[in-house]
C-alpha cells in the first residue's frame, strides 16, 4: 500500500511514532556538546547532563563518578525507552523493534564466547554485554565447546537460530572462527532484516532498505580492510558480504580482491555516495574512516525523520541514541584522562 500509509498507519503506529519523535527531540544538540566539551571534571558532565533527559538517571549517583557509570546509566535510559516502546507495540512493529536488537545479540554472543575462550569470568563478561542484546540463557554460552554445541544448547532458543544454519561446524572455537561466525551471523541478520522490511513495504521498505544497504556496505568495507593481511581467502571474504546494498554484486567482486587500503578506495570511489566519504580521507589513511562513516550514517538516520508513517524512525532513533552514548563515552574518557585536545576526534554531532 505504498503512498497510503497515512490512512492506516496511525491506528497502531501513531502513538509510538509520536513517542519516538518526542524522544528524538531529547537528543543532545551541538550546543550541548559544546558545553560538554568544555567540562573540566566528570561532575561537570553530570551537572550538565542533569539538565537534559539523562537527569533522572544520573541524579542518584554518588559523587566520584566513573565513565562506565555514566555510560551505563545513559544506556539504561535507552533500554527503558526501548522496553516501553516494545511493550506498547503491536505486530509488525514489535517484530521490527526486536530485529533492531539482534545486532547486539550477535555481539553479546561473540563477546561471551571469546571471553570464555580466554578464561574470563562469566559474570564479568555479562556485565560488559549490551543490555539490549541480552537473552535468557546467555550465561550458558560458556558451557559450549564448539559451534555445534553452541547452537544446539543455547542459540536454538533465540531468534538468532536461523542465522546459524550457515556456520555450524564442529570445529573448536578460536578467535578467527569466532570472528567469521560474527560476520556470517551479521550477514544473515542484515539480509533477514532487509527481507523483513521489504515485506512490510511502503515507506518503511524504502527508507529501511537505504539505511540497511548503507550498513551492509559499511560492513563490507570494514571486513575488507580488517581482513587485509590475514589468512582469510578471497572466496571466504566474498562470502561474508551481505547480498544486497549498493555494492552488491559488482562492488563486492572488486572488494574481494583488494590487497591494500588504496585499492579499497579505488573500488569505493566508483560509487558516488561513498566518493564523498573517501575524498575526505588522505591516501593510505584508514583511522578516520570510522568517523567518516559514522557521520554519514548519522546524516542518513536524521533524514529518516523527515518522512512520516514508517518504522524507519525507530531504527534511526535507536541508532542515534547509541551514537550519542558513544559520544558521551568518548567525551567522558577524554575529560577523565585529561586529553581534552582529542575531544573532537571522535564526537559525531547529531544536530
Amino acid at each position: 500500500m505504498y503512498g497510503f500509509e497515512a490512512m492506516t498507519f496511525n491506528i497502531h503506529g501513531g502513538y509510538l511514532e509520536a513517542i519516538v519523535r518526542g524522544h528524538r527531540a531529547g537528543l543532545l544538540t551541538a550546543a550541548d556538546y559544546n558545553n560538554l566539551c568544555q567540562c573540566e571534571t566528570l561532575d561537570d558532565i553530570k551537572m550538565h547532563l542533569s539538565a537534559t533527559e539523562y537527569g533522572p538517571y544520573l541524579q542518584n549517583e554518588p559523587s566520584p563518578l566513573h565513565t562506565t557509570t555514566i555510560v551505563e546509566k545513559c544506556t539504561l535510559k535507552l533500554v527503558d525507552e526501548y522496553k516501553h516502546m516494545l511493550c506498547q507495540a503491536t505486530e509488525p512493529l514489535s517484530t521490527f523493534l526486536e530485529y533492531i536488537t539482534y545486532g547486539h545479540m550477535i555481539d553479546n554472543v561473540v563477546l561471551i564466547v571469546t571471553g570464555t575462550l580466554h578464561e574470563r569470568d562469566v559474570q564479568e563478561l555479562l556485565e560488559k554485554c549490551h543490555p539490549l542484546g541480552m537473552f535468557d540463557s546467555i550465561a550458558t554460552l560458556a558451557v559450549a565447546q564448539n559451534m555445534r554445541e553452541l547452537y544446539r544448547l543455547v542459540l536454538v532458543d533465540t531468534p538468532l537460530a536461523p542465522y546459524f544454519s550457515e556456520c555450524i561446524t564442529s570445529e573448536d572455537l578460536d578467535d578467527m572462527n569466532i570472528e567469521i561466525m560474527r560476520n556470517t551471523l551479521y550477514k544473515a541478520y542484515l539480509e533477514d532484516f532487509y527481507k523483513f522490511c521489504q515485506k512490510l513495504g511502503g515507506a518503511t521498505a524504502e527508507i529501511m532498505s537505504d539505511l540497511l544497504a548503507f550498513e551492509a556496505d559499511r560492513r563490507a568495507v570494514n571486513i575488507t580492510i580488517n581482513s587485509i593481511g590475514t589468512e582469510l581467502t578471497r572466496d571466504d571474504r566474498r562470502k561474508l558480504y551481505s547480498n544486497f546494498g549498493l555494492l552488491y554484486p559488482y562492488g563486492h567482486e572488486e572488494l574481494a580482491v583488494c590487497e591494500d587500503i588504496d585499492q579499497v578506495r579505488a573500488a569505493m570511489e566508483k560509487y558516488p555516495p561513498y566518493q564523498s566519504i573517501f575524498s575526505r580521507l588522505s591516501y593510505g589513511e584508514s583511522q578516520m574512516l570510522d568517523k567518516a562513516f559514522y557521520e554519514e550514517e548519522v546524516k542518513r538516520l536524521c533524514l529518516a525523520f523527515e518522512q512520516q508513517f514508517h518504522y524507519g524512525v525507530f531504527f534511526a532513533y535507536m541508532r542515534l541514541r547509541e551514537q550519542e552514548i558513544r559520544n558521551l563515552m568518548w567525551i567522558s574518557e577524554c575529560v577523565a584522562q585529561n586529553q581534552k585536545s582529542r575531544v573532537h576526534d571522535s564526537v559525531v554531532f547529531i544536530f
Binding site: 558545553n35 568544555q38 567540562c39 573540566e40 561532575d43 561537570d44 551537572m47 550538565h48 542533569s50 539538565a51 541524579q59 542518584n60 549517583e61 554518588p62 559523587s63 562469566v122 535468557d136 540463557s137 550465561a139 550458558t140 554460552l141 560458556a142 558451557v143 544446539r152 544448547l153 543455547v154
Partner: protein, 808 residues
C-alpha cells in the same frame, strides 16, 4: 465628555484591574552579606532576579561548587528517604524543629549518617547472604531427602540386581569415569547427583538446558521450596525450587555445574547417609536461629538510626532546597572581583521597595558587614513582568485568563469581570436548580475527594450558585417545573381540561412573578416560547459583553495615553457594533416591553436590503425607518474610519519625528500619545508602512466580520441550554417516569439507577464540562479579542515558598 473623563479618573482604583507597578532595581551586595541578603529576600519573595550570566553554562558560574554540594546533599537525603520507605517506616509526622544548622555542619552530619547507613547495610547484607545460604541449605536438605530417601532405599533393594555396566548399554559411555566413581562407596551404580536451589521462574529453562546438555541422560527432580527467600539485591521475596539432578559421568558433572552457575542456581551437597543428614540439618537449624537473632538485632539498630534521621528529614530537605535556591540565585548575579561585591538586577513591585530595603538592612546588620547593601531603581528598556496580587477566590479566575495569555504589563485585566461573567454564562447554559444543588454540594465537599479540582473550588461554587439562580428563572428542577412563586397565570378553558394541548390555555391573572411560568411545560408552544426567549437573551448578553470588551479597550487606550486608539479604533468600533447589534438589542427589549408581534428577522434583513421601504406591520416605534437609515450609514462610515486614518497618521508622525523636526513636536500631545511605554525604544529603527497598514486592515476586517460572527457565537448559550434541558427531560420522562409506570419494584429500582447514573455522568459531569468549555471560549475569543493583548510575562519572584518538590 469632560465630565465623563473626570468621573473615570475619580473611580476608585481596582487591585485586579491593572497589574502592579513594577520597577527594575539594582542591588550591589558586599560578598560577606550576600548569602544572608539573598535568603532574606527569598523569605520575602517579592523580587524577581534577572539572570546576568545567561551566556555562561551552569558549571562556569561562581557558586557552582556550592550548587554541586547541595546536589550531593539532596542525593543523600533522597537516599535516606528511600531507605526509610524501604524499611517500612513512616517519616515522622511531627518533625523536630532544631535551631538552624550551618550548611557545613549539615553536610558533615549527612555524610556521617550516610556512611553509617551504608556500613550497616553492607553488614546486614553480608549476614543476609549467609542467612540465605543456610536457609537454602536447610530447604535443600529437607526437600532433597524426600527425593533421595525413596530412591536410595529403592537402590539398596535393587542393588544386587544391578550389573556394573548396566549403563554401558547407553550411547553415552564413560567407562573410565564410571569405574572411578565406583571407588566412592555411596554410588556404586555410577549414578551421582547434584542438589541445589533455583528461582522458580528459571526452573523450567534450567531443566531443558540440563536435558540438552546431557542429551537426556539425567533425572531431574524438583519440589517447591515452600518458603520465600529474600533476594539480597532487590530486597524482594523470591519463590524458589529445590532440585536434585541425577546423572552419571565426570564431564556431565562439569557441564551441569557450569549450567548451575550460569543460571544462578546454588548447589549444596547433601550427604547420602541419613544420620549424617539429620546431624547437618540440626547444625544448620541452630546456626540459622543464631543468625536470625543477629539479623533482627541489626535491623532494629538500623531502624532506630533511620527513625532518628526521619525526625530531621523534612527540615533538612527543605533547608538543602533553600540553600540550593539561594546559590542558584547567587549564580545569576554578576561577580565583581575588584570591588568584592555582587551586582544583581531584578524586578520588584513598587509597593515592596520598603520591605526589600528593610530586609536588606537586616541582612547587613545580621552579618555585621561594614558596608551596606546598595539598592536603587534603574531605568528599564524591556517591559516589566505582570504581577497581580490575587487571593484564594480570585486566583482561579486569574488562572483562567492566564491560560489564554498573561496580560501585557498594566493592561486591563479581564479577570475582574470574569469572576462574575464566567459562572454566569456557564449557568445560562447549565440552568437547572436541581443540578445546581448537586454541583453546589460537590463544590462544598470538594476538598475531601478531588484534589485536582480543589484550586477551582470557588469557580465551582459560583458556577453552582448561578446555576441555581438560572434554574429558578428557567423553572427547572431536574427538568420538572415547580410552583415556587405562586400559581400559574394560566388555566384551562373548562373543567375537564380536554383541549389544553390543542386549543391552549387562557390567561386569567398577572404574569408569574419570577422566571418561566410552570404551565409552559408540556404545552404545544413550549419550545417556540423558550427558544425565542433564550435566543434573544443570548443576543442581549452577548452584545452587552462585547460592548464591555470595547469599553475596556477605551480604558486601555486612556491608560496608555493613546488618543489615536480612542479616536480611530474605539469610537468607530462602538458605532459599528451598536448601530447593528445594539439596535437589534434595542428592538428585542422594545418587543418584550410592548408585546409587539413584529418580525425582527424581517426588520434586520430589510434594513440592509431595502432600508427605504416601509416597515409596515413590523414597525415597533415611530421614526424607526429614518433611524435605521442613519444607523446603517453610521455603520458604513465606521468601517473606513477604523481602517484608514490610523496607519496614515502613524506614518505622518514617524516622518515628522525623523526629519529633524522632532524638538518642535516634543511638547505636542500627539507625539507622546501613540507611543506605548514598553516598546518605545524598539520602534525607533524602522517604520514599515505597508506592514502597519496590513496589520490595521486585518484588525478592521476581523472586527467587522467578528461583530457578526461573535454575536452569532453567543447563540451557543441558547443551544447548550436547550440541549441541557431537553436531555434532562428525556432522562426524566423516558427513564424515570416510564419505570415508575410499572408496578414492579425491580423495574422501578433499575429506572431509578439508570436515571441517577445518567444525571450524574452525562448531565453533571459531561454537560458541566461542555458548558465550562463554551463559557471559556466565549471569554477567550468573543470577549477578550476586543481589548486583550495577552503578550506579557508573569512575575516569578525568588521565593522559598514557591520552591516545590520537583525543583530538584
Amino acid at each position: 465628555m469632560e465630565r465623563i473623563e473626570k468621573l473615570i479618573d475619580n473611580l476608585p482604583p481596582m487591585d485586579l484591574m491593572r497589574s502592579e507597578k513594577m520597577t527594575l532595581v539594582q542591588l550591589i551586595i558586599p560578598v560577606e552579606s550576600a548569602h544572608r541578603a539573598i535568603s532574606y529576600l527569598g523569605e520575602l519573595g517579592l523580587l524577581q532576579f534577572r539572570d546576568l550570566n545567561s551566556e555562561r553554562s551552569p558549571f562556569q558560574r561562581t557558586f557552582v561548587n556550592q550548587v554541586k554540594r547541595c546536589g550531593e546533599m539532596s542525593r543523600k537525603l533522597r537516599f535516606f528517604k528511600d531507605q526509610i520507605s524501604k524499611a517500612g517506616l513512616l517519616s515522622s509526622v511531627h518533625p523536630v524543629v532544631e535551631p538552624d544548622l550551618e550548611l557545613e555542619e549539615l553536610e558533615i552530619q549527612l555524610a556521617e549518617h550516610e556512611h553509617e547507613l551504608i556500613e550497616m547495610n553492607s553488614n546486614s547484607e553480608k549476614l543476609r547472604v549467609t542467612y540465605n545460604e543456610l536457609l537454602e541449605f536447610k530447604l535443600v536438605l529437607q526437600k532433597a531427602c524426600g527425593f533421595l530417601l525413596p530412591s536410595s532405599n529403592h537402590a539398596v533393594a535393587e542393588e544386587r540386581e544391578l550389573t556394573e555396566n548396566i549403563y554401558s548399554n547407553d550411547d553415552y559411555v564413560e567407562t573410565a569415569s564410571l569405574l572411578e566413581q565406583e571407588t566412592r562407596p555411596a554410588d556404586q551404580s555410577g549414578l551421582r547427583f547434584i542438589s541445589g536451589i533455583i528461582c522458580k521462574s528459571k526452573a523450567l529453562r534450567f531443566e531443558r538446558m540440563l536435558f540438552r546438555a546431557t542429551r537426556g541422560n539425567m533425572l531431574f527432580n524438583q519440589a517447591p521450596a515452600g518458603e520465600e527467600i529474600m533476594d539480597p539485591l532487590s530486597a524482594e521475596m523470591v519463590e524458589k525450587t529445590v532440585f536434585v539432578v541425577h546423572f552419571s559421568g565426570e564431564q556431565a558433572r562439569t557441564k551441569i555445574l557450569k549450567i548451575c552457575e550460569a543460571f544462578g542456581a546454588n548447589c549444596y551437597p547433601v550427604p547420602d547417609d541419613i544420620s549424617k543428614q539429620r546431624q547437618i540439618t540440626r547444625e544448620v537449624s541452630s546456626h540459622l536461629s543464631e543468625l536470625e537473632t543477629t539479623l533482627d538485632a541489626g535491623i532494629r539498630h538500623r531502624n532506630k538510626a533511620l527513625t532518628s534521621i526521619g525526625y530531621h528529614l523534612t527540615q533538612w530537605t527543605s533547608m538543602v532546597r533553600r540553600e540550593k535556591a539561594v546559590y542558584d540565585t547567587l549564580n545569576m548575579l554578576n561577580f565583581d572581583v575588584t570591588k568584592k561585591c555582587l551586582v544583581g538586577e531584578g524586578w520588584c513591585p513598587i509597593f515592596a521597595k520598603a520591605q526589600i530595603q528593610e530586609a536588606l538592612q537586616r541582612a547587613t546588620f545580621d552579618s555585621s558587614s561594614q558596608v551596606g547593601i546598595i539598592f536603587h531603581v534603574m531605568d528599564a528598556v524591556e517591559s516589566p513582568p505582570t504581577y497581580f496580587r490575587t487571593n484564594h477566590f480570585t486566583n482561579a479566575y486569574q488562572e483562567i485568563v492566564d491560560a489564554y495569555g498573561v496580560a501585557r504589563y498594566q493592561e486591563a485585566n479581564p479577570a475582574v469581570y470574569t469572576v462574575v461573567t464566567f459562572p454566569f454564562l456557564f449557568a445560562v447554559m447549565f440552568g437547572d436548580w436541581g443540578h445546581g444543588i448537586c454541583l453546589l454540594l460537590g463544590a462544598l465537599k470538594l476538598g475531601s475527594f478531588m484534589e485536582m479540582l480543589f484550586g477551582g473550588r470557588y469557580v465551582l461554587l459560583l458556577m453552582s450558585l448561578f446555576s441555581i439562580y438560572c434554574g429558578l428563572i428557567y423553572n427547572e428542577f431536574f427538568s420538572v417545573p415547580f410552583h415556587i412563586f405562586g400559581g400559574s397565570a394560566y388555566k384551562c378553558r373548562d373543567v375537564t381540561c380536554s383541549d389544553a394541548k390543542s386549543a391552549g390555555l387562557i390567561k386569567f391573572r398577572d404574569p408569574y412573578p419570577f422566571g418561566v411560568d410552570p404551565s409552559w411545560r408540556g404545552s404545544r408552544s413550549e419550545l417556540p416560547f423558550l427558544n425565542s426567549l433564550k435566543m434573544k437573551m443570548s443576543i442581549l448578553l452577548g452584545v452587552a459583553q462585547m460592548n464591555l470588551g470595547i469599553i475596556l479597550s477605551y480604558f486601555n487606550a486612556r491608560f496608555f495615553r493613546s488618543s489615536l486608539d480612542i479616536r480611530y479604533q474605539f469610537v468607530p468600533q462602538m458605532i459599528f457594533l451598536n448601530s447593528l447589534f445594539g439596535y437589534l438589542s434595542l428592538l428585542i427589549i422594545i418587543k418584550w416591553c410592548t408585546g409587539s408581534q413584529a418580525d425582527l428577522y424581517h426588520v434586520m434583513i430589510y434594513m440592509f436590503l431595502s432600508p427605504t421601504d416601509d416597515l409596515g406591520e413590523n414597525e415597533l416605534f415611530w421614526g424607526q425607518r429614518p433611524l435605521q437609515i442613519v444607523l446603517l450609514l453610521l455603520a458604513l462610515v465606521a468601517v473606513p474610519w477604523m481602517l484608514f486614518p490610523k496607519p496614515f497618521i502613524l506614518k505622518k508622525l514617524h516622518s515628522e519625528r525623523f526629519q529633524g523636526r522632532t524638538y518642535g513636536l516634543l511638547g505636542s500631545s500627539e507625539f507622546d500619545l501613540d507611543v506605548e511605554p514598553d516598546s518605545a525604544r524598539d520602534h525607533h529603527e524602522e517604520f514599515n508602512f505597508s506592514e502597519v497598514f496590513v496589520h490595521q486592515m486585518i484588525h478592521s476586517i476581523e472586527f467587522v466580520l467578528g461583530a457578526v460572527s461573535n454575536t452569532a457565537s453567543y447563540l451557543r448559550l441558547w443551544a447548550l441550554s436547550l440541549a441541557h434541558s431537553e436531555l434532562s427531560t428525556v432522562f426524566y420522562e423516558k427513564v424515570l417516569l416510564l419505570a415508575w409506570g410499572y408496578d414492579n419494584i425491580v423495574i422501578r429500582l433499575i429506572g431509578l439507577a439508570v436515571f441517577a447514573f445518567a444525571t450524574a455522568f452525562i448531565l453533571l459531569m459531561m454537560e458541566t464540562l461542555s458548558a465550562f468549555l463554551h463559557a471559556l471560549r466565549l471569554h477567550w475569543v468573543e470577549f477578550q479579542n476586543k481589548f486583550y493583548h495577552g503578550d506579557g510575562y508573569k512575575f516569578k519572584p525568588f521565593s522559598f515558598a514557591l520552591i516545590t518538590d520537583d525543583d530538584d
